[in-house]
Symmetry: C2
Subunit: 462 residues, 2 copies
């Protein structure tokens, strides 16, 4: 059998997982694997950047799961600093440019994996490109931000940071900057921080961030970044006020990077992400797969496609793609929208639908919110957490769950994630056989306490 | 409507939960509630006793969820130190004895709840009744043990404790005695400590306990408790050796306390526990319910009845019983056998079937064991945990999961508990949307890593 060639566009989680998994199934004689990465790094944990910046992770290299050399040693021809400029699906080839030499060439493929990831949203506001304004999308961004922080001198003097955006990256970067001794202001466009939660739960995050010494300004639309005579950032302006800043970090989300794919006529969805079937094959294409931050995924609760850029999904996609290309099989059934995060000792978690998602999906729902503790109330370090639950009116089917608390709070969301996957009702949830011992849980786990209250709400709503 | 009377036998978790829940549905005018408790305490957390002994919980009263006075204030006529001597189901009455005065009387009921709990197993070995030998079943036991420990003088001198039994209570008491400065030896009849785990996982517990300075002796059948001239305990003897002991703690399990119920002709099962239907009504009886440590429960994985004395089940039973008696409805669907525990910083968890349970149930299975970490590998304090998974051969259905690790390990078992409840396959589990962020999990949660390996084992087994 003549060797076939697999080309992978993008050397991070989805792309390199796909390549590695395909390699487990196929020898280099059976399947040549060529991967193109335009950046300086492959297979790194972007999710870890805030902790590297914050100093909990000792250095950039710790975030690199596998070096290019390690990939090459496993029979994957990973070409760094090589950008794919064009996909030609009809002739089965890609045009690449070596970013060092500028040389362009065509490379043919029998199978193609598109794992181009996401690009940060950068609103077109004056001054956003000024020195001292930083994204935190990749390791180069992180290194650049660290250089800026170091140049601003040691802690002690008054140094001010403004974070634009109060989602996961925003709040994680607020913590990181706090660790660097900065006064931190978070400018949030929404009603409350963490728009992935309902506003009533976001309000708890706001209060807790206040307690940590992080100033959060809600309904703050940034209109300009002000610079000084030296051209460096001095402040961030909103319609209402100006916030002095020695450094600005942008944490305002990302959009699927599908420029190449769209130019090649591949189908994208409502959020601009590539559309695939459950095997992660691009819809309508036999030999092209896509995964990671550049695709949309099926939300199993609402039945709609969503864009959820998250390393854990990217790794799963890569796993499925590699198995299918290698001659095994697998499907990615979809997501329920689980996410966890923390700001210092505050833990935040969500899964399933928020109130506005349920409404948008045409579902009638009830909510229940409870306070409970991470351990038996009498056990040392039992901490209070708030759990909010959404259930479908009438059927009692679980629709979503959100948690804001301290140590031991966030990962409890996994119980709801599995229950959502199984289509469980809140009534069934109340009797779940969850692990109980005083150091780990009250006799009724907080998730069960919330489910019990939700049952009463479902019953009362009729 | 004339008031009906509910009589509850047993004033702890199941009984008082049933009473409280029934009271939520019915006023005292509609339903009189009388509860009999032969001990000095009601509604306390027996699970918390090891932590009270160990000093993490400040005092006995912290373990009392609700005092008799609080119950009475809510319209429950709780009579302490009153033992039920006989159930007369034909005439709908119980004979009670006031343990202070010795007075006996009959009390009629329209509805009866049996929540008589469990009694500790006390093997008939010489010396087991000697001063210095303690059970830890109830608060009186705990107080008595604390008195002994205090009398043995302050830490510093050499003081030796022997714990008989290496199950949950045994290992938790080993930790408690360690906190008191004792040299602790655990005598374990089985092959490895924690017989609720497979022996290969129990071996990890053994090694970790060694590391904590707790000596565990396996295959040690106690033959006698040796006493000194003063009649107090001096040593514990096995067939092979003698272990010096200033104090002995018995942690050798419990059996359902169903003496009264059996005398009344009520049905009991293989483990001596009362048999109920899913509404927790005693089988074949219209007006008698039973719950807590005195009943057998349906194991949803094996389809067999089991005896699992655990406060979290007792509370759920009480909830269901109270709702059904009060005029609401509810069912207790069964358990999957989840349990969590810890010894110092070692966390132990299990759910579903062990290898020997699967064999006994006539199931063919494969196993997979992995090591993974509680957080992203690069994140501070990421700790190693071992996860073992059992899946049905052929179908890949999850059968059980066990975890031994450190902080953040045990409660991950809940994911498997919900997956077992839903009858999920290990293949489906690999794609579960569990919470991921570096402080909380590697990009593949340890449970998913185990599921992935189990899929390969299922495939390889054909």
């Amino acid at each position: 059998m003549a060797a076939q060639r697999l080309v992978v566009i993008g050397g991070d989680a989805a792309g390199m997982s796909a390549a590695s998994q395909a390699r487990r199934f196929r020898t280099p004689d059976e399947l040549e694997i060529v991967a193109f990465e335009r950046g300086h790094f492959a297979s790194y944990s972007a999710c870890g950047i805030p902790y590297w910046i914050g100093g909990q992770v000792a250095g950039r290299d710790k975030l690199i799961a596998r070096t290019p050399e390690e990939h090459r040693a496993r029979g994957i021809d990973l070409r760094m600093r090589t950008e794919v400029m064009e996909i030609d699906p009809d002739r089965g080839r890609v045009r690449t440019r070596d970013l060092e030499s500028g040389t362009e060439e065509w490379t043919g493929w029998d199978r193609l994996v598109i794992a181009t990831g996401a690009r940060p949203v950068r609103p077109p506001i004056p001054g956003i490109g000024a020195p001292g304004v930083h994204g935190v999308q990749n390791l180069d961004d992180g290194q650049s931000l660290l250089t800026t922080l170091d140049a601003l001198g040691p802690a002690g003097g008054r140094r001010r940071a403004v974070v634009v955006g109060a989602g996961y990256i925003g709040v994680e970067m607020a913590e990181a900057l706090l660790h660097h001794g900065f006064e931190v202001t978070v400018l949030n466009r929404g009603e409350q921080p963490m728009a992935t939660l309902d506003p009533d739960m976001g309000r708890l995050v706001h209060t807790a961030m206040d307690g940590l010494g992080i100033t959060t300004v809600n309904r703050a639309e940034v209109t300009a970044v002000r610079t000084g005579d030296d051209g460096r950032v001095r402040a961030v302006a909103t319609a209402a006020a100006e916030y002095p800043a020695d450094v600005v970090v942008l944490g305002i989300g990302v959009a699927p990077e599908t420029t190449l794919a769209r130019a090649a006529g591949l189908p994208t969805g409502e959020y601009g992400g590539l559309l695939t079937d459950l095997s992660m094959r691009v819809r309508g294409r036999d030999a092209i797969w896509a995964g990671g931050d550049c695709v949309e995924v099926l939300d199993l609760v609402s039945g709609r496609d969503r864009h959820i850029p998250l390393g854990t999904h990217a790794n799963k996609h890569g796993q499925i793609i590699g198995a299918n290309i290698g001659g095994g099989y697998g499907t990615f059934p979809g997501v329920v929208g689980t996410a966890v995060s923390k700001v210092c000792d505050l833990e935040i978690a969500r899964t399933g639908l928020r109130e506005k998602d349920a409404t948008a999906a045409g579902l009638q729902y009830v909510t229940a919110t409870v306070e409970s503790t991470s351990r038996a109330g009498y056990y040392p370090d039992a901490s209070v957490m708030t759990v909010k639950i959404l259930a479908e009116r009438g059927t009692g089917r679980l629709l979503g769950l959100q948690i804001v608390g301290r140590e031991g709070a966030a990962k409890r969301v996994d119980v709801a994630a599995v229950a959502l996957t199984a289509g469980m009702t809140v009534e069934r949830m109340t009797m779940l056989d969850l692990g109980y011992a005083p150091p780990f849980s009250p006799v009724w786990d907080p998730v069960l306490v919330a489910a019990r209250k939700a049952v009463r709400a479902v019953t009362a709503a009729g």
